[in-house]
């Protein structure tokens, strides 16, 4: 079959080709469409799919399935791997049952992320193999191959697509889904499943001994390609290899090229390149992982070779593209660079940043919060759509998933005397806000925590979570009550408000603010995008002819309110929430 597929859909196809039996993940751009595609393709396959509560949970669930004989994968974005780092590091020692693939999607340039960490470092850190695809076809092929590699060496394997692979599209050749038969049974083996020190020590030795064997195996992999031509060379990993191929063709230059797609890196191919050239440029996004290795190898085999890389013209931050790579090669070859074009548009164009949707209840909640807590209060916030409300003055921090409550606690314990009102979304709260809330209660933090409950994981594409009562595959399940959870974790004040009812929400915040202890406000109103899709329609609001033009409503920042001439008017984006009329 050949189809025009999104990189993440191609990865899903690769997992199915390999007969995967379980895939668990937590949504995060650019990884979310892998599980979403599997949900669409599942049909009657014996495949367990789940949105897990967080990435650590997802990886542990996948490990359990692997140990029970089902090929399993865990999906997450790069920062999600930080959450899953605890099981990730030790799984490298304990190994797998059936194949286990950890998919960590990197986001060079932070298109939709709080940092641009390089997952290849994590693979290196854990001493596990990493497959670094350059395009959707490679991503599909590597996803399937990852299981074989994992089983052959009894080790988890990382697949590391980047945004420009996960969210690229290409014609992809794939096979139909495979169904792996056979007994699924957990086999007891404490020496390999119980990470006691007495077991861990020999397993660490074993892990280190695997490295050379894995390297020898990966040297034959089709994604490492060596073309020896001219006496200058390029070593490029992942997508940088595609940019390099295009640049060499564009420049029509006689340059040697080694494309890498697997870690541990193919030592002998690097040696052959270094023995052939007098000057080599290492092209890779983010960290100088390949470059460091090339430098080490060069010291032994060709100490005089000139190595160009991060020290010179290849940036260590952001993403590469064809033109950057073309110009870097042109500089190396003494050819003319091609300047990027400029439209000088920024002089006259209004910025169009992403913003909260018209009718989004987060805007209303934040408005009420700020009215009650005031300008001087501290507002630790978190990761979700609501982070985009930074202009409203109610987002003072954003560090990591669930970090709002714990930062708020630390700010209080350090001696801050102003009001402190933290905020985080429902999915983020369930992901990693729970422990922070329990900690705040236990350690007596006098703060207010607001759960912005739009009953979905909105930013990443509306995935369900335990508070929604629906599973990834649309089955009904237990609906976890945020109110009951907050009380159980020790909050002394728990109240729910409808943010579209401005007065009642402000009253609720007032009581929370005055409460002498840990207070939780749950601001609940479904995400407007979801509400629109499910057909819920409200009457569009309108402003009468008596608008005095005071511009107070503009401060609310709703895209449905426009100002022209000397009066405000409501445009067709209005969802009819009616909140602007009450401010």
């Amino acid at each position: 079959m050949r189809e025009y597929l999104l990189g993440n859909a191609a990865i899903a196809r690769g997992l199915l080709e390999a007969g995967v039996g379980l895939v668990a993940g937590y949504p995060g751009t650019p990884s979310s469409e892998i599980i979403e595609t599997l949900v669409d393709l599942k049909g009657d396959l014996p495949l367990h799919l789940e949105w897990s509560v967080n990435e650590k949970v997802a990886l542990e669930v996948a490990a359990g399935a692997s140990w029970t004989g089902a090929r399993a994968a865990a999906t997450m974005k790069h920062v999600g791997l930080n959450v899953a780092a605890d099981p990730f590091m030790t799984l490298a020692y304990l190994g797998v049952g059936a194949g286990l693939v950890v998919i960590s999607a990197d986001d060079p340039y932070c298109h939709s992320s709080q940092n641009e960490q390089d997952s290849r470092r994590y693979a290196q850190f854990a001493s596990i193999p990493c497959l670094d695809p350059a395009d959707p076809q490679e991503a599909k092929d590597m996803a399937a191959y990852g299981f074989e590699l994992s089983e052959k060496f009894n080790i988890p394997v990382m697949l590391r697509p980047t945004t420009r692979v996960s969210h690229a599209r290409a014609d992809v050749e794939y096979q139909y889904a495979k169904c792996l038969q056979g007994q699924k049974q957990f086999v007891k083996n404490p020496a390999r499943r119980v990470a006691l020190p007495v077991h861990a020590r020999p397993l660490h030795t074993e892990l280190l001994e695997k490295q050379a064997k894995m390297e020898a195996e990966l040297e034959k992999a089709p994604w490492n390609k060596l073309q020896l031509r001219g006496s200058t060379g390029i070593i490029a990993s992942g997508i940088a290899g595609i940019y390099a191929e295009e640049a060499i063709r564009d420049l029509d230059e006689d340059v040697s090229l080694l494309r890498l797609g697997c870690y541990p890196m193919p030592h002998r191919l690097i040696v052959r390149m270094l023995e052939h050239v007098s000057r080599v440029m290492v092209l890779e996004e983010l960290e100088p992982v390949v470059e460091e290795q090339v430098e080490r190898v060069a010291r032994k085999v060709n100490p005089t070779v000139e190595i160009l890389g991060k020290e010179g013209s290849i940036p260590r931050e952001g993403e590469l593209d064809f033109l950057m790579v073309r110009n870097a090669i042109a500089r190396m070859q003494g050819l003319a660079e091609r300047a990027p074009r400029s439209s000088f548009a920024e002089k006259i164009l209004p910025p169009r940043p992403p913003a909260l949707c018209p009718g989004c209840s987060h805007r209303a909640t934040y408005y009420a919060m700020r009215r009650v807590f005031g300008k001087k209060a501290i507002y630790p916030s978190d990761i979700g759509c609501y982070t985009m409300a930074v202009g409203m003055g109610t987002v003072d921090t954003c560090l990591c998933m669930g970090g709002s409550i714990t930062l708020a606690s630390g700010i209080r314990f350090a001696g801050e005397t102003e009001g402190i009102c933290a905020s985080l979304g429902d999915s983020t709260f369930l992901h990693s806000g729970l422990t922070g809330l329990m900690n705040a209660a236990y350690n007596k933090a006098r703060i207010t925590v607001t759960i912005l409950d739009n009953s979905t994981t909105a930013m990443t594409g509306h995935q369900p979570h335990p508070g929604t009562g629906v599973t990834a595959t649309g089955e009904l399940t237990v609906q976890v009550s945020l109110e009951a959870l907050a009380r159980a974790l020790g909050a002394g004040f728990v109240e729910t408000a409808d943010p579209y009812d401005m007065e009642a929400t402000m009253d609720c915040f007032q009581r929370a603010k005055e409460f002498d202890g840990l207070s939780v406000v749950i601001a609940r109103q479904p995400c407007v995008i979801r509400a629109r899709r499910s057909g819920g329609k409200r009457k569009v609001f309108s402003i009468g002819a008596d608008c005095g033009g005071c511009r107070v409503c503009l401060e609310f920042g709703c895209p449905a309110i426009e100002f022209s001439g000397d009066a405000a008017r409501i445009n067709n984006l209005c969802t009819g929430c009616g909140v602007c009329a009450k401010i």
Binding site: A345, I348, P354, T460
Partner: protein, 195 residues
């Protein structure tokens, strides 16, 4: 040396249906047995922000079009046409829907939205030809304002090396049955607009 047969950059505002256009082109390209590449905007930027989509016909390389490399810039919104005009090749063509979508920075009175003339002047200087149309009006004429993106696809069809019948077949694959008639009409109206 050219590394693709035709490079297209499609721009607009989150929610206007940019991805549908590239999906149709991509499917049609696969039907024509051409290698296809593309890159999309997902995630945070989708929430009412600027979106850009790269589509490369007959290409085995980068998923993104290079600055100065686009044979066609297809803009569903005039300000976005100018925002991404640096992708245009000097030999390229810009197809622009003239219906503006005002960003929050304009509705809240912080910035002014430029006139069509202010957009057209620099845009014309960057490429061979600018073709503009009121695609939103044409879509309404076809039966649904939602089909504005398909009007633009119809216009684009004259500028790309893919047969129209394959684009129509791909369109039928991605548009729900009950909207197909209106979308086919939208496609024809867009195509007629650039004749």
């Amino acid at each position: 040396m050219r590394t693709s047969e035709c490079d297209i950059v499609i721009v607009g505002v989150g929610g206007q249906g940019v991805i549908l256009i590239s999906d149709v082109i991509g499917r049609a390209g696969v039907m024509a047995a051409k290698p296809m590449r593309g890159a999309e905007t997902h995630g945070m930027a989708q929430r009412g922000g600027s979106v850009i989509n790269h589509t490369r016909i007959g290409c085995r390389y980068s998923p993104m079009v290079a600055s100065g490399g686009a044979d066609v810039l297809l803009a569903l919104e005039p300000a976005e046409a100018l925002r991404f005009a640096h992708f245009l090749s000097p030999e390229g063509v810009a197809l622009v829907n003239t219906g503006p979508v005002l960003p929050v920075t304009v509705t809240t009175g912080k910035f002014a939205y430029p006139s069509w003339e202010e957009i057209l002047a620099p845009l014309s200087g960057l490429c061979r030809e600018v073709k503009s149309m009121d695609a939103t009006r044409l879509a309404r004429q076809a039966g649904t304002a939602q089909a504005m993106n398909v009007v633009m696809l119809g216009a684009l069809c004259r500028y790309i090396p893919l047969p129209e019948d394959l684009l129509q077949a791909a369109l039928s694959e991605v548009v729900p049955g009950r909207y197909l008639e209106a979308n086919k009409k939208a496609f024809s109206l867009g195509k007629a607009e650039v004749e």
